[in-house]
């Protein structure tokens, strides 16, 4: 009998459910997490099981409920705060940067903030320019935060537990195109770390560094390239801050080529950071220039054809790789 299939959404839910069962200090709060069941239906059913104290619907007050999460974490709880989508998180950016990321250091190490903030990110569902951006790279700029981007069922299911055990504020970015991802949860995996990048596909010719919603497209591009005789190694960053440089550099030193795929805007992006770290530390081991595939530098348009043109996709990724391995093609 084969294992039943599940979805990324269900894995996120089971992760929250397991956390609530494991620790009475854990509670979930955010907009529409209770009665509605979560904007992306992640928390559906949890209100009935855990009640309104622990599955706590909030008013549309991102700054107040994120700040309340920070205060509650300081005072002994283990909150999971859900922000409906990354664009809305900007309303709480003051709390995230000026308080969550800052208080431990500014207080001389007197207060830690064991808080988890989850939010949806990314484009692909024609939700237009105020619901579709990928701003996790901005958050990865901030010292004091840990930034996670689960891209697989196993990470969706198991990253939350170590995030809640971590004494630092951890932001988890769930890509909206991954919620419907279906598959079988590997029964051999019962926990994951939140420190290391993972090589999702080994290869000898080029390293593709990506994360989150771009992982499936990058893996698809690698399959296309394999049929052309190009073996691409695909690294899933998983953790956007602190970056696992060692895994990236080890791979790039082997393949001597690298393309970074990042759904964020190119200028000042996470891809720029990764590229620069490779340039700083592995420049002489490269056989080709570094390349990037990022989102077009536009507010995400509504129309489907324009949105598709704005986002990284397998064709653009494969094309970028070909320029490195077959100059002139």
């Amino acid at each position: 009998m084969s294992a039943p299939t599940t979805t990324y959404r269900e894995c996120c839910k089971q992760a929250i459910r397991a956390a609530l069962l494991a620790d009475p200090r854990v509670f979930l709060m955010g907009e529409d997490v209770g009665r509605y069941g979560g904007c992306y239906a992640v928390s559906k059913g949890l209100l009935d099981e855990f009640g309104p104290e622990r599955i706590r619907d909030t008013p549309l007050s991102e700054s107040a409920f994120v700040g309340a999460g920070i205060g509650a974490a300081i005072a002994g709880m283990r909150p999971i705060v859900e922000i409906m989508t990354v664009n809305f998180s900007l309303l709480a950016l003051d709390q995230i940067l000026n308080n969550a990321a800052t208080i431990p250091h500014m207080s001389g190490g007197q207060f830690a903030i064991p808080l988890v903030i989850r939010m949806a990110t990314g484009g692909g569902r024609q939700l237009a320019a105020q619901h579709s951006h990928s701003l996790e790279g901005w958050y990865a700029h901030i010292p004091g935060l840990k930034i996670l981007a689960p891209a697989t069922l196993e990470d969706a299911r198991y990253m939350l537990a170590p995030a809640l055990l971590d004494p630092n504020p951890v932001l988890i970015f769930e890509h909206i195109m991954l919620y419907n991802l279906e598959g079988v949860l590997d029964p051999a995996v019962t926990s994951v770390d939140i420190e290391h990048a993972a090589i999702r596909r080994p290869g000898r010719d080029v390293t593709l560094v990506t994360y989150g919603g771009s992982l499936p497209e990058t893996l698809a591009a690698a399959e296309t390239l394999a049929r052309e005789g190009i073996e691409a190694e695909v690294i899933d960053l998983r953790v956007l801050r602190p970056l696992d440089e060692a895994t990236i550099l080890e791979s790039v030193r082997r393949t001597r080529r690298c393309v970074i795929v990042d759904e964020g805007w190119r200028s000042g992006s996470l891809s720029a950071e990764i590229g620069m770290r490779i340039a700083e530390q592995a420049f002489y081991e490269l056989d080709a220039p570094l390349r990037r595939v990022c989102s077009a530098e536009v507010p995400m348009p509504y129309a489907g054809h324009l949105e598709r043109a704005a986002l990284p996709n397998r064709e653009r990724i494969a094309a970028a790789v070909r320029t490195l391995l077959r100059p002139g093609s």
Binding site: S61, G69, I74, A75
Partner: protein, 337 residues
């Protein structure tokens, strides 16, 4: 003066003493600032002492305090040792935040003092959170959140009052209305200048009190705290006060008249209490001077301690960016040993 609190001589002397202590501590800070030993921003509480002293008198060790960047008064009244405070002002390792916070960011886990918050309004959501945690964990503590009337302009004020009342959280909101947010008078920032009334919009019991009268502040805070501790939800206290000195050390005070400042100085909370006590035979000749001399000795000791303090090694610069433990769980008052 209210009848609800004890007004015996010792109690009044303690209030008077604490206000004088704050006033003189800050006068020393000005000297040290002029000598360039304290740098950065320095926001003085001069004139507003009755607010923190009156409110703090009703708090308990298990309560949380969230304050602003103008928090020397709260820090001292809450019981943070003056030595640790002065060392922090001088940027020394022996400071309560190892010199990382400075004047605007005083934190002290032992007294549950959660800043020192220099983003106006930014402390209110934190207060909602500590109160939420206390309520969810069944602890009979309250969170006292201080902020200026400038915070009323911020969305976080409204979001936080709403959330606190909606969830019936044990928060005592204390607005220190000193009439100016930096140089902007209340009436050109707010359509409704009656701040206590705004709290009423969130169905929160609220009261405006003469913030230059420490006994009135304490009485009002005691009433509010009693209600909060009974589990009925948050309360709001607007303390009408005035800062006698500039907003910070870089302020030429072009926005208010000398006559206005003088009129408020005539209501000085320290002189007022001392005069009232004297007139009622509760403060004897020479007693105030004796208190001042004793406090000056404490201040001199704190300055010596701070000046003799060490600098945090630069190798420690990145320490505590990421934490490897949750230190407040062993540091805060009432934490398990």
């Amino acid at each position: 003066m209210s009848a609800k609190i004890r007004l015996d001589r010792q109690r009044l002397l303690a209030l008077l003493r604490e206000m004088i202590r704050i006033r003189r501590f800050e006068a020393k800070c000005v000297e040290l600032y002029q000598a360039q030993k304290i740098r950065g921003f320095l926001h003085l509480y001069d004139g507003e002492e009755a607010v923190s002293v009156g409110v703090m008198a009703v708090l308990r060790p298990e309560d949380w305090v969230v304050a602003t960047y103008r928090e020397h008064g709260q820090a001292l009244a809450r019981g943070i040792p003056m030595r640790a405070l002065m060392a922090e002002m001088l940027g020394k390792l022996e400071g309560c935040c190892r010199g990382r916070g400075g004047s605007m960011h005083i934190f002290d886990a032992r007294t549950r003092f959660l800043g020192g918050n220099a983003i106006v309004g930014g402390g209110l959501p934190l207060a909602v959170g500590t109160a939420l945690a206390d309520k969810m964990q069944g602890r009979a503590a309250l969170t006292c959140c201080f902020f200026g009337e400038g915070a009323v302009d911020e969305g976080e004020f409204h979001e936080s009052l709403n959330l606190a009342e909606l969830w019936k959280l044990p928060v005592l909101f204390v607005c220190e209305n000193n009439l100016y947010s930096m140089g902007t008078p209340l009436e050109i920032a707010e359509a409704e200048t009656d701040i206590a009334k705004k709290a009423g919009c969130y169905r929160m019991p609220s009261e405006a009190v003469d913030g230059m009268d420490v006994v009135a502040v304490e009485a009002a805070a005691a009433r509010a705290a009693e209600r909060i501790r009974s589990g009925e939800g948050p309360c709001f206290l607007e303390c009408r006060t005035y800062r006698f000195r500039a907003h910070s050390m870089f302020d030429a005070q072009l926005y208010r008249s000398k006559e206005e400042v003088e009129a408020w100085r005539a209501r000085d909370p320290i002189d007022r209490l001392a005069r009232w006590m004297h007139d009622n035979g509760l403060l004897h000749t020479g007693e105030r001077e004796a208190i001042e001399a004793e406090i000056d000795r404490e201040i001199e000791d704190a300055v010596r301690f701070a000046e003799a303090g060490s600098l945090e090694p630069v190798e420690e610069l990145e320490r505590f960016v990421l934490m490897d433990e949750i230190p407040q769980e062993r540091l805060v008052a009432g934490a398990a040993p």
